[in-house]
Symmetry: D2
Subunit: 366 residues, 4 copies
């Protein structure tokens, strides 16, 4: 299904070359103010055509709010957003119908939908479908901020260039939010030049590169989430793996924990100003699926953009024969910078849902 | 919530020291035969007390099927299973009420439930809750086998000892299933001795070690799953992160994709005996969230068991002061071997649900 | 939530005076042809301004399909529809903000949303929100027809004028579908004149009248649905009670069963051309929540339109004092004729979902 | 599915002749005290063998709480209950496998489950499955009481004997709860003798009778519930129609509204001690799907027990031929008295879920 969430649900629709893409945000609290300019700024972070590192294609991503907004506040009823697609008919897509692009969902999607899916530009599988997700995340980030929670992310790695990781106990909410003002959000600015060079090297080779995004939420109270199937990790990962190109998610020290001992991986607790606080954060702010008061930290790997200029072996699915494909056009040599606001959005929407749900159990016995 | 799945739902209940733990398996097809001895064998793989590498505690994990089973077949109505807890009152747990064990959910759970949760042995957060999951997975594996699908896993890493990874295009269903007959499922048997040594070294140090489990499903048709929120990755990861101790999940080449180029990461396709087949499997059998015909491969990291014999700094939550905790008793120095059937079970149940759902869309237009 | 369904979900958004109302239809089978002219005809049956019996307000209810439709077929991905609202700002609604209309959701909604809801024309509670439901139902009816199932309804009662009920074992699919071509669908055409008279009498009295709609589905195979919470009655009634003004739903002989004996209420079975067939249909085609091969028959009562021209006692919610309200404008003296396609739509969408789900269990053991 | 609810979910399992029936209650608030003796008393109201009006079969309905209960309070984790079935093997059910009982789900269920369902005593369709529902309702009633809400019901009608209806604006919470202490809950005690006579007359005729139960909830704040698919009516009716034998549900004046005018059906509002109060209650305490401050009132019709002593025409489903069935044994000539606590339970569980959900939106903007 194209709906996610328990109390705060997000339903996404659309194909990249249909009339519009959009979303229905249901379960938002009534009476919340939203700064639409800030939402537009978030949408612009994801939009193509901003940078030499990204595709030169221009997509406006202008949106209209169709419902759920009245006299400057949310109404509490579904907030629908519509993002018109531009230029829907400019290109000949007949090759795409036949030649399955490796690394894309062309073949899997063709089988899944019996060949009836809209294959133009990837259709419903297009990365363009992350635009309504960024919209939802931008709304969620504003609501979270009002609740004392900030979400931010940086590029931890692209190709072999690495930023330094987040300090496990946080950077402060202000510094975290400031990251989103940067075209290339990095903690170590010295990495910006080599990072640009790595992307442009791939571009020159008609190739692409992947990377890792690290995301953090500060300000979450302890005791949020659930054990088992609705653990914070379960809910965040369900959402994160819905973002095209994400192929791995890890929390806290993640895969590094495989080589650690319990005495290194356990986070001791201590009293601090009358409150319980973790002393370290190897578990990414989550034990038993529930927040423990440390920042929630996770990393998501973004695979290299599958659209590359080089010739690739594939099949002609209509003729049932081997073929060679050369994708022309302007592609992102690296999708990682544009994926940063998407990862933040995925986290923000999920955390908003968890935060709203905590109102139920925080109420205590009836 | 403690329920997961769309057409095939699993509801889990219980605390480690209550009368019983159990599960309700709803949506199973009617008329399926199940070999209960095989289910018992799977349960035994997870049960403690089997090995020098695990805790010496004995838990029988004997189960009774309470419903949904009639004259040797599933009825199609909910199949409930009950696993009685043994010895519920043998120990003094008053320390556990006060001293929050680092790395466990004691503190997070205490806040989450306002202090009302059953803290004995971790209560609802106990690893013992994976027993009903293994039961469900054992049922699912038998149904999947009847549909031509096999699920198996091996220990890819414990501490610094590493097994070789699965061949990306599979090992054959028979070899895959044979793995589960081994106490320490490894592809490279030469690693068994160093692996045992690594675990025993941690045990001798009153410490614990973590590891990585690699899991594969062979025989899945292409075109299973959904884009976005119900991607196969989304659904598998939601389930996998509900397993205590899992802190990271990656598909195909996973985090390694960060350093790869698109030309390396894309899986070319070719015709083979009239069918489309991927030539490589960097994407773990999944593109756009949907199976592409290659085996589904993923890895999950298991953090080191948080229960260790060493003194640890923590807080006394009742008195609101710092404290030192020494956990006594028999603990698993490494939970990874016992977690192998749990990871398989999580994958099997999820894949069964996806497979059942595919019957809807495979029906075509009405 | 504003989403309903299991495999085939419907999400509705909008307020009567916002930019648009609409819906996302998710889970439709791929490759289905839809006759949009027929959908428009269904929408016109619900639209106001068609008849002397209804409000003279004109609403175009023109729709655009935003996604999920490609080259003349459904794609299998979400089909989004947008219905622009006309004239959004023409009226002074400041009275409505203060004076709570009896029988409407003004007061309940104001409390529910903390006063932030869009109160113009009822906002999200407006009967106008049934337009996207009729759209969804019109799509579902076409898909059901392809599966051999027809849904139709007639006006069983308005005020004290009564049509004859459906014959319990059906009228034939053709006759059933033909009902929808009539402005006032009645089995006994002799009732049309008195029915019109009854509505106009209420209109002349600045008042309104209610009625009962009887709906039937023919062609459903036996064995569809589930026991307990997903019984066909449970699912139909959840949907039907979401239609504003519905205050009662009964299946088969419904409330009349209270005065019957078991020997009268049980439907005997017999063999007919090698198939099991019910001889009578006191249970409305449903036993144990599951279809039994007889037509599914139910009735829904529609309360009199709450908007009436007479002065009514109410409160001024802003000033916290008693008040008298006189609603001006053009109102429906009877909503029942326009509700007929809404009831059909509610039934059709629900039955489509149930029919799709039956593909899973009809597949047998794997 | 056999799970219902949003924040507070109920999962039911079992067949009447399997080892046990039971339920998992998930999402209960932590720290709630429950009086198990009161729960047992509610269970006894439903249990057979109590009265000359009901079957003489004895079922203990003793239950054990398997989880979610610790040191005298709910833990907030799933509360599982198990009700052992007595005497599972005492009878020859081979006739039941072949001869489909009219009015029961035998035929519909046989088709639904491909003949694999447990047919003994109706299996999963048995009225016995209402025992875990009564358990859940008894728990919910205690929690609702702590929140100032009471739920009660009376027999409005059996055969042609009628009790007087609830006063629309309530009877007071104490009087409402006192109803449940009576074997035959009636407002007009003078109807008790004729009511007994009507049931015994049916019993003497080897037949059965139906009736109507009227249920009321007092103390609900205004503003609870949702518009559209999660309207209070939608949620209550989904639950109510899962109770075997319920064939109709109406709120407020229900089907009588068909003959009323708007000026009669609208409930005027007035200020009373500074609060808005409805003056009448034709809408059953619900407008727009949301509570308006008046008591929630609804009625459910219970069809006559399908098990009767008379010979009935049916089919032999194994041989595919017409047959005559004579059901022997001790049956309920009227299930209505035993259904009263079931209807209350269905209402209580649903209202608890709605009440818990209201904590989210009552929190206002974040």
């Amino acid at each position: 299904m194209n709906t996610i969430g328990r109390l705060c649900t997000l339903t996404i629709y659309g194909e990249s070359h249909g009339p519009s893409i959009g979303a229905v945000l249901d379960g938002l609290p009534a009476g919340a103010a939203i700064d639409w300019d800030e939402v537009r700024r978030e949408m612009a972070r994801r939009a193509p055509g901003r940078s030499a590192l990204a595709t030169a294609r221009k997509e406006a991503d202008a949106f209209t709010v169709e419902s759920g907004w009245f006299e400057g506040h949310t109404t509490g009823t579904p907030l629908a957003v519509r993002i018109a697609n531009g230029d829907q008919h400019s290109k000949d897509y007949s090759t795409l119908r036949r030649l399955m692009r490796p690394g894309h969902a062309d073949y899997a999607g063709r089988v899944r939908y019996g060949g009836w899916n809209d294959y133009r530009g990837g259709g419903h599988f297009s990365g363009r479908l992350t635009a309504p997700l960024v919209f939802a995340g931008a709304v969620a980030k504003q609501l979270l901020r009002q609740a004392g929670v900030s979400v931010g992310a940086h590029i931890l790695r692209i190709a072999d260039v690495r930023d330094r990781p987040f300090p496990p106990l946080g950077v402060g909410r202000e510094a975290l939010e400031a990251l989103s003002y940067r075209e290339l959000p990095l903690l170590d600015e010295a990495q910006e030049a080599p990072l640009r060079a790595a992307v442009l090297a791939a571009k020159d080779a008609a190739d692409s590169v992947g990377g890792v995004i690290e995301c953090m939420a500060e300000g979450l109270a302890p005791g949020l989430g659930d054990p088992l199937f609705d653990s914070v990790e379960s809910r965040l990962s369900q959402m994160l793996f819905s973002v095209p190109a994400v192929k791995g998610v890890e929390f806290g020290d993640g895969f590094t924990l495989a080589g650690m001992r319990g005495s290194e991986a356990n986070d001791p607790l201590r009293m601090e100003d009358g409150r319980v606080r973790p002393v370290s954060n190897h578990n990414g702010g989550l034990t038993g699926g529930i927040t423990d008061g440390a920042p929630v930290i996770f990393r998501a790997v973004i695979k290299p953009t599958p659209s590359i200029g080089r010739a690739q072996h594939t099949v002609d699915a209509e003729r049932g024969e081997d073929a060679v494909l050369e994708i022309r056009g302007r592609h992102d040599p690296c999708i990682v910078p544009r994926a940063v606001p998407v990862i933040e959005a995925a986290a923000a929407w999920t955390l908003l849902d968890i935060l709203l749900e905590s109102r139920v159990w925080k109420g205590g016995a009836l």
